[in-house]
Amino acid sequence: MTKTFTGPDARRPALPASPSRRRRRPAAPRGRFLTAFAFVLPALVLFVLLVLAPILIAAYLSLYRWNGVGPPTNFIGLDNYLRAFRHQIFLGDLRNLLIIVALSLLVQLPISLGLALLLNRKIRGRAFYRVMFFAPYVISEAITAVLFSLILSPESGMANQLLSAFGMEGWPWLSDPDTVMISLFLVITWKYFGFHMIIYMAGLQGIPKELTEAASIDGANPWNVFRHVTLPLLAPTIRISVFLSVIGAIQLFDLVWILTGGGPSHASETLAVTMYDYGFRRTQIGYASAISVLMFLLALVFALGYQRTVMRRDVQGALTTMGGGR
């Protein structure tokens, strides 16, 4: 490594390539390629083995009927995929995904944005509120789920005791197939609205005060300032928040698994829960692999489509926040 560097390169002080593509240099000497590659190699090996390979393995296994014992031999082509699209539980997963995405966009997003706007003003205790609202994000989904399974439990849970304290009847939070998704969404909101709020606050900080001030001086009322100045300038941030909500919803597992196990009667099941159920409990590895691949394709198609049509320039930004939330 050292040798190639002190060799031909040392004579050209301007060597380290400019990262920008505009200033393309003549093709780099082979030694530099090897040096650079040596830096990338360890990460690449780990990434290929544990991120890329599993997807290929899932794609391969999805073509078999296999119970996980011995090598897979029972090749069945695309039957597992066809089965999924006739499978009521899988179709229910897709319906639940749509419900979560719709509620996230219609309820959680406006709440997060509204609070970000409120906290963006100079009010007392602003830093404190910010820290408080964001705190649930650092609590693991599993522990959140355990806590809320106690809070939402039918008799002794805090939620129903609160209702009865106000003279209302108990609510079947997690036990009614018709309303379980709303309860689930409530918990998702508890955990993640602060995350989206933080993103919006960061976006709002990027809007120059002069613009909103100029609009007010020109006679725009606060609503119009928001509608015609703040909101358009916040659009990239909103798109990223939506993107993260959807990608998060596609892989939702921990919360559902612990809160409801997907029930009652699969009413709150998600793709990942179905995959886990078939892969690890019923050991129908082939079918579970097909569901994995479908989840992957869903995420990929959504990401590419969204990037093409909606996000365009700001995808890089979204990518760096993928550590993300939902």
Partner: protein, 274 residues
């Protein structure tokens, strides 16, 4: 005075959200000091009398400490591995021109689109073949691999911003590429390294799905897994489970108190670039 009054609705709205956030946590903290009978008769008031046994029993038994230790070890090793490998790769991506660079970098960024849950089943089969089930490495290595894309993207952005003159000076002084990376670039990148480390720690700390499928042995459980299993074990003793929830939240919230700035700057770094 009128200015004061105008912020009243704002504060009301914020307080409603605040109660929504705090109430479950306050219920858990106080509930942990009650016994199950108190919890159903007096769910919201202060405990009367205070029953510290739920907490002290958990702190006296060994399993909480073991799970805490497991979580710490796995988070630290995951973070070291992620950040070390990512920094090397990001260095090459940021400061070398070589054929295939953009292609390789794109390959890593595509990894950002892989939901972790997608790979869990094939990962399980892979780990089984490598004999890494019931082995901390079975969680550490995949977590590190999944952490690479985000960490590389953030670090590459940071490394690119360090002026060319710094590198030229280092080279004239006889630095090798690795010497420049190690002795100049990394020390300069300390804030960025702190940010990505905090993100990696939080991701590892909160991971539930992977430990769930990899660890059968209770001696290896991490805190999220331990809390979930504890609930299964003491399903009737709500107060005790609340106490366990609270105790296991303390390390995470303490870490948040210390690293809040890095965490938030890491999460919002990209979002505002738009």
């Amino acid at each position: 005075m009128i200015r004061r009054l105008r912020t009243v609705p704002t504060h009301v709205l914020i307080w409603i959200a605040g109660i929504f956030v705090v109430l479950p946590l306050a219920y858990a903290v106080l509930g942990g000091f009650k016994d199950t009978g108190q919890l159903s008769v007096n769910p919201f008031g202060l405990p009367a009398p205070w029953v510290p046994e739920n907490y002290t029993d958990i702190l006296a038994a060994g399993s909480f400490y073991r799970q805490l230790w497991n979580s710490v070890v796995i988070a630290v090793l995951t973070t070291l591995l992620t950040v070390a490998l990512s920094a090397l790769a990001a260095f090459a991506f940021a400061r070398f021109a070589f054929r295939g660079r953009e292609l390789l970098f794109t390959l890593f960024t595509v990894g950002l689109l892989f939901p972790f849950a997608v790979a869990i089943l094939p990962l399980f089969i892979l780990l089984r073949n490598y004999g890494l089930l019931d082995n901390p490495l079975g969680v550490i290595l995949p977590q590190a691999a999944y952490g690479l894309p985000l960490t590389i993207v953030i670090l590459r952005g940071f490394f690119r911003e360090i002026p060319r003159e710094v590198e030229e000076a280092a080279i004239i002084d006889g630095c090798s590429p690795f010497g420049f990376f190690w002795r100049v670039l990394l020390p300069m990148a300390r804030p960025a390294l702190a940010t990505v480390s905090v993100l990696a720690i939080v991701a590892s700390w909160n991971n539930f799905f992977l430990p769930l499928v990899v660890f059968n042995d209770p001696g290896l459980w991490t805190l999220p897994l331990g809390v979930q299993q504890f609930q299964g074990e003491y399903s009737s003793d709500t107060a005790k489970i609340l106490a366990y929830v609270v105790i296991s939240l303390i390390p995470a919230l303490a870490f948040y108190a210390v690293a809040e700035r890095q965490l938030i700057s890491g999460l919002t770094a990209g979002a505002t670039k738009g």
